[in-house]
């Protein structure tokens, strides 16, 4: 075997190795936790299969040709240079495939945009460099807090061992009940930010001076992590988003505690006056 084919084989082996490693491990979509995330995931898998099929057909033909139609094996060049029929066929088939891919995506887009009649509305405000949350409507209305990175600086500088949730942990989690439609309104105080929780399939830019929104309904309790994904300056990498999904009763308990705490703060303030 020539050195070229050895290298080509090596290259494809590496590619195959990566891909298999990635698909079976943490290097793929996080497990979908909402209807939208599930639809997104399914459409991506379908798209990958279609790509793979086209890839095999096109490069199967090309590599067969590279192997057989080479001068070194004495292949004489043919002289054809166009065929209207073939060209119409390979314009039409991709068009049909694309229409098939666009159809389910269209339904999901329309569903994603339907933020009407939420059970709970939370405003997320991007600051350089943290998030502020205000519960505007529904159970928990009136709760308001900031949410900052809680990873110690010593871990960033390598003076301490990095924890399991390095850079993905905050002091105050956003808490929501399971199975309820949550509408998140995004805006920003200074520059653009973006609110992203991959497991829910939601991502929305937060724009200073404007209001945008998104919605999700979490399928089951748990803690789901995301990050700011719009470059917002020096500490852009340090403003994670942590959403804690709770059962309804636990959520009610959390709301009560938060209310009590803020009432206590108010009383202290009143006494102080």
């Amino acid at each position: 075997m020539s050195s070229k084919s050895v290298m080509a084989l090596l290259g494809s082996a590496i590619l195959a190795f990566y891909s298999s490693m990635a698909f079976s491990s943490k290097y793929f979509h996080p497990e979908p936790q909402s209807v939208i995330a599930q639809e997104t995931y399914d459409q991506h898998i379908t798209a990958l299969w279609i790509c793979l099929a086209i890839f095999i057909v096109v490069f199967g033909a090309m590599f067969y040709s590279i192997l057989k139609h080479r001068k070194s094996v004495g292949h004489k060049a043919a002289n054809f240079h166009h065929s209207t029929v073939v060209e119409i066929i390979w314009t039409a088939i991709p068009l049909l495939i694309l229409i098939a891919m666009a159809f389910p995506a269209t339904r999901t887009v329309v569903a994603m945009k339907d933020t009407s009649q939420p059970d709970i509305t939370i405003k997320a405000t991007g600051y350089q460099w943290m998030w502020g949350y205000d519960y505007l409507q529904g159970e928990g209305e009136g709760i308001s807090f900031f949410s900052k990175l809680s990873t110690p600086v010593a871990q960033l500088e390598g003076k301490e061992t990095k924890g399991e949730n390095y850079l993905l942990e905050v002091d105050n989690n956003v808490v929501v009940p399971v199975g309820k439609k949550i509408r998140v309104i995004t805006t920003a105080n200074d520059v653009l930010h973006a609110w992203w929780v991959p497991a829910f399939g939601v991502k929305q830019d937060a724009i200073p001076g404007f209001i945008r929104d998104l919605w999700f309904t979490a399928n089951k309790p748990g803690i789901f992590r995301g990050q700011c994904v719009e470059l917002c300056g020096k500490d852009h990498g340090y403003m994670p988003i942590v959403v804690e999904v709770m059962e309804a009763d636990k959520y009610a308990q959390w709301v009560a505690e938060k209310k009590k705490a803020s009432a206590a703060v108010m009383n202290t303030a009143a006494v102080g006056n």
């Binding site: 590496i14 793929f28 086209i54 080479r70 314009t91 390095y166 830019d205 724009i207």
Partner: protein, 524 residues
């Protein structure tokens, strides 16, 4: 004899030393300067990339503080796009368009000199902005406000550099359009032009269309920063999203400005080494034109997360997906050109096949990104980084390498060291994939782009990616060595070193004389 000598001397008369290059109006000299400038910027941009990958080699902050890291990513993007890839294509056009259409030179020879000499000024502005108070621009190569309103002098230097680069590009494009439309050899109708010339004609029109838009965009940013306007500031009735619309109205055609000439190059090289005419010449031309037109109506697919109405998202999704059709036609045509040919695999052919192979992977991830729900998931993550490096590095850059290896014998009169050149290809191919293939998975798993530090789950793939990037960077020094060795000497190249080549430049001696086609050739 004396008379002949005299005529010859007159023909080659030009100042020697540095003044030859400063004063030159010769398309070959200017093309050479464009290519060297582009390579120098490629090294600077590459140095910045090495810095980025070194910082990301493992979690934690090791080498670059976050702010400097942001400057590195910003300047890496700007320098590679405006300093490396675009000037390289303009350099190739300068050398090859007159040779391929049988013209003696470019239409506006003096303007050609001016449009080149603007570039080093802009390049210096960008590089020196690292050393001014506040440092270089750090708002990303897309410099979205309000963040870009926050930076210091570095941002203003960037804006000025972009103005200069834009002026240079517009002049260069007008020159190319005029040359192609007016100076073709008798008998060369538009539909007989080599594909490289066709793709550059269409590219040049795109440049003339969108560069003024970018100039307007950065000017509005400048007046927002210094003169109290509020185009992009909600507090004064403006809108930060307006900037993104204007920027991407330039930015998306810009993507095709960097890939259409690559299509042209590959469409020259593949038929040559398949010893068979290009399959579907006219459909290639129409496909290029359709891509160019469609590229002007898809810009907001870069903005699916800004919160457009569903109708807007759907329109831009459909339009974007439609681009896959003409692009697919091109790939099928290249495959059909190779089919039943009599192929040999010299370095330019290797780079062209590598181009088609990896560009298609970039095209697939492009279609995936066009689907709104999936794009919302991968937007601003490493998936997008992987996608556009597949189309810009293994796409545009590989085609430039292919073009250099294809035409170098014509330019220098020497054959290069093919063993080393092939090694350059294989090392580039392997390291490129090691560096960028894993980034798809980093993005899918949730790693945002433009962050100097990341959570531990991303550590191993980042390390693999960095190793690939270092290898890819070092490999490019080999390219420099091969080119210099070829310029300094080597086996004498024949006038037509490639058996299957058919275009006009191969009818000239190698190296191509300083002035060529003073009497136009006649095309039958």
């Amino acid at each position: 004899m004396a008379v002949v000598q005299d005529v010859h001397g007159h023909h080659d008369h030009h100042p020697s030393g540095i003044m030859r290059w400063v004063m030159t109006t010769n398309h070959k000299d200017i093309g050479t300067m464009y290519l060297w400038f582009s390579f120098a910027m490629f090294m600077v941009g590459g140095f910045l990339a090495m810095g980025i990958r070194a910082e990301l080699f493992m979690p934690g902050i090791q080498i670059l503080e976050p702010q400097l890291f942001n400057s590195f990513t910003t300047l890496h993007g700007l320098i590679m796009v405006f300093g490396a890839i675009m000037p390289a294509f303009v350099g190739l056009a300068n050398w090859q368009v007159p040779l391929m259409v049988g013209a003696p030179d470019m239409a506006f020879a003096r303007m050609n000199n001016w449009s080149f000499w603007l570039l080093p000024v802009a390049g210096l502005l960008l590089i020196s902005s690292f050393f001014v108070p506040g440092g270089a621009a750090a708002g990303g190569w897309t410099f979205y406000p309000p963040l870009s309103a926050q930076g210091g002098l570095g941002v203003d230097m960037m804006i000025f550099a972009i103005h200069i680069l834009g002026a240079s590009s517009i002049m260069g494009s007008i020159n190319i359009i005029t040359t192609i439309l007016n100076m073709r050899a008798p008998g060369m109708t538009l539909m007989k032009m080599p594909l490289f010339v066709w793709t550059w004609l269409i590219t040049a029109y795109l440049l003339v269309l969108v560069m003024p838009v970018l100039a307007g965009c950065v000017t509005m940013l400048l007046t927002d920063r210094h003169f109290g306007t509020t185009f992009f500031n909600a507090a004064g009735g403006g809108d930060p999203v307006l900037f993104q619309h204007i920027f991407w109205f330039f930015g998306h055609p810009e993507v095709y400005i960097m890939i259409l000439p690559a299509f042209g190059i590959v469409s020259e090289i593949i038929p040559t080494f398949s010893r068979k005419p290009l399959f579907g010449y006219s459909s290639m031309v129409y496909a290029t034109a359709s891509i160019a037109i469609l590229s002007c109506v898809v810009w907001a697919h870069h903005m699916f997360t800004v919160g457009m109405p569903a109708v807007g998202q759907l329109f831009f999704m459909y339009a974007t997906m439609l681009i896959a059709v003409p692009t697919g036609v091109k790939v099928f045509n290249w495959t059909a050109t190779m089919w039943r040919g009599s192929m040999t695999f010299e370095t330019p052919m290797l780079f062209s096949i590598g181009f088609v192979f990896l560009f298609v992977i970039g095209g697939f991830s492009g279609v995936v990104c066009a689907i709104v729900p999936i794009d919302i998931q991968v937007q601003d993550t490493y998936y997008v980084i992987a996608h556009f490096h597949y189309v810009l590095v293994s796409g545009a850059l590989f085609s430039i390498f292919g073009a250099v290896y294809y035409w170098l014998p014509k330019w220098t009169g020497h054959m290069y060291d093919t063993k080393l050149a092939n090694l350059h290809f294989w090392l580039s191919m392997i390291f490129f994939n090691v560096a960028f293939f894993v980034q798809h998975f980093l993005g899918l798993a949730g790693m945002p782009r433009r962050i100097p530090d990341y959570s531990l789950q991303f550590a191993d793939f980042n390390m693999i990616s960095s190793i690939g990037a270092f290898g890819f960077g070092l490999t490019q020094l080999l390219f420099l060595y091969v080119v210099i060795k070829c310029i300094r000497g080597g086996e004498k190249a024949a006038d037509k070193p490639w058996e299957g080549a058919t275009t006009l430049e191969w009818t000239l001696p190698s190296p191509a004389p300083y002035h060529s086609f003073e009497t136009p050739p006649v095309i039958k």
